[in-house]
Symmetry: C2
Subunit: 417 residues, 2 copies
Amino acid sequence: MKSDFDALMQARNLDALMVFGNAEHNPPMTYLTGGGHVSHATLIKKRGEAAILFHGDMERDEAAKSGLKLISYSNYDAVSLYKQANGDSQLAAAMRAELMLKDANVTSGRVGVYGTYDLSAVFGMLMNVQKMLPNIEFVGEAREDSIFMRAMETKDENEITRIRKMGKVTTSVVAKVRDYLTSCNVRDDEVLLNEDGSPLTVGDVHSKIRLWVAEHGAELPSGFIFAIGRDAGVPHSAGTPTDLMKLGQTIVFDIYPAEAGGGYYYDFTRTWSLGYATPEAQELYDQVKEIFDTLNDNFDLNTPFANYNIMTCEYFESKGHQSPLHTSAPVEGYVHSLGHGVGLNIHERPFSGLTAGDDQRLAPGVVITSEPGLYYPEKGMGFRIEDTLWVRPDGKMETLAEYPYDFVLPMKNWKKK
Amino acid sequence: MKSDFDALMQARNLDALMVFGNAEHNPPMTYLTGGGHVSHATLIKKRGEAAILFHGDMERDEAAKSGLKLISYSNYDAVSLYKQANGDSQLAAAMRAELMLKDANVTSGRVGVYGTYDLSAVFGMLMNVQKMLPNIEFVGEAREDSIFMRAMETKDENEITRIRKMGKVTTSVVAKVRDYLTSCNVRDDEVLLNEDGSPLTVGDVHSKIRLWVAEHGAELPSGFIFAIGRDAGVPHSAGTPTDLMKLGQTIVFDIYPAEAGGGYYYDFTRTWSLGYATPEAQELYDQVKEIFDTLNDNFDLNTPFANYNIMTCEYFESKGHQSPLHTSAPVEGYVHSLGHGVGLNIHERPFSGLTAGDDQRLAPGVVITSEPGLYYPEKGMGFRIEDTLWVRPDGKMETLAEYPYDFVLPMKNWKKK
């Protein structure tokens, strides 16, 4: 949580944090400012002190919504800096950064640098500032273990409210997609039809999903997956737009919308087979559902997340599938890890992979996905079930948006002959 | 244009370029790969040689669409690197980068680094690689003058086609918003009403705009502005969702959608006053329109863009307004610069600010905005008119999407008493 920063900075021997970029679509800046239309900003937080947001003068109203201490860039005369730098705009930017660091009383020590931003400009500027303030050492951190990933790992009530709300958006879009698909007419060759009688394609469904997510004012900043048949068997395939929608094929629908502006995500997957399922598909689905339920029965406070990934590997191996536990980078069977944290990043701590440290636990306040799956691209099928779960302060696990787990979806206008 | 890279690298004494991040929402990577679902990639281009795209193995099909030479990350054994690095994932990433640079035959010289990406992770990694390959000097470039901004400054026919198409999307959404607003019923206190009789808010309009942009399969990756009254007087205020939509107040509607995945932008603004305008607002609008038209009559091939910004400052000062020409960072009057280039970045070269170099000209192939405006937040009003213009190879200026400049929009169900 945000309140952890000073302790985390102390533990990592960081004297200050410097965050660059926009307040939107930039998790570290969004986290500390609350988002909004603040662009090309700089935030400096000295350990033990309040953060200062440096912003363009035209965005002062938006910047003020952050509740942070503000300093306008107009305090640093751009024209005069540019002249002093003999027209070298990178040097002028570095001179301004030097003044900002001094105004934040940061002139020595280890300064962590963060942000999803133009790294060329920031890298070049920092190299210059380093020369101007030789007692500062700028530090970059590995993505999965940065101080932000650590602080973001546990969520407060307000964050849970926002994630839960995205969960409602998610399940309502999923319900709409289900209703839309099961209402379609079906051709003799089991291909679904649009209202105008043309074959329904995966691309048609993609368009509807985008539209219905937008209707809720949400975004799909990391895309989404709606894939059928062989594509459902490749975990990262988003689906091929020209594929026809057919009965009796597995559909993996993995949707992870975020609040507009790159806010909190929800992450959710269902696997469907329209009209009927083949016996083999039904058997594999039932296995995924069985371990999914077993995991829900076993999730326990403060247990390392990776333990449940191992439990999933062992279950699937007991059913004759490959898993990363005894196969390196399998392409069939259970091919990924069990889940990940969700927040302002679609993938964040805690992670559950076999190399995840055992400090990545189901601690109070974490929000994780549980998403076991089976993949058989050569058989033209894939399966994944995923919910987003919150480890509540009382230690109980709570699914943040409930939705049924039906595999076979009956078609309203079609009966098996 | 892309064909300029080797010459630009020579001129800047850059021996190689290294680009980090996803192929989407990351202009340098999008520019060289063409976009698509390629994530956490690395691109290395040695001067005089073809670029190499290093990518995750699961994304090989998407990576192949770039037409670039490909090397899969699976060529570098992640587990063994992680062990060699004693579990330090940042060091392991640096060791992999060292191997990639060697495979690209880049072991010395000046290497420019680029990308909109997690700068903490890349900064930390580059600091490590620098130690491993001491004959390499990593170089960051100022945003507005980077080799990418230079290459992107002039567009080819294909880029113009894509920008023009986004222009059509933009004006069709704007037309729909206009139609929606002017069809509303109006309460006695001049507040617009929703169909259910509740007051129409700025937030309601924001939702419609998002929906209609999504209907076209386009995105709003940098947001948009639909602001009324005082917010219209603050150039970068996105609008307050709870504000009520009222007659006779200035509305600034600045919309800049991009192709899905973070492709080419269009940039467009109109200022409206619903039902009627106050005489003061009409007078200020007319001034903005007058200089807007004068600029269109005067834009001339190869003239420095900043000259037209100065012309705009002088015009507004002659009408008694403040401008940056003689006031430092004014908050009233004409408070920004005239315009900017548009492409994969919403703001790119050429720039028109008072410090923009006179090499930023209306050269053949550039695409610019012209967007004079006046801002009076304390009077509760603001004005801006903006089109996106292409300097054609034949030297003529062309507005890429035509749309009317009406200020007062008559309401269909309301007449002034």
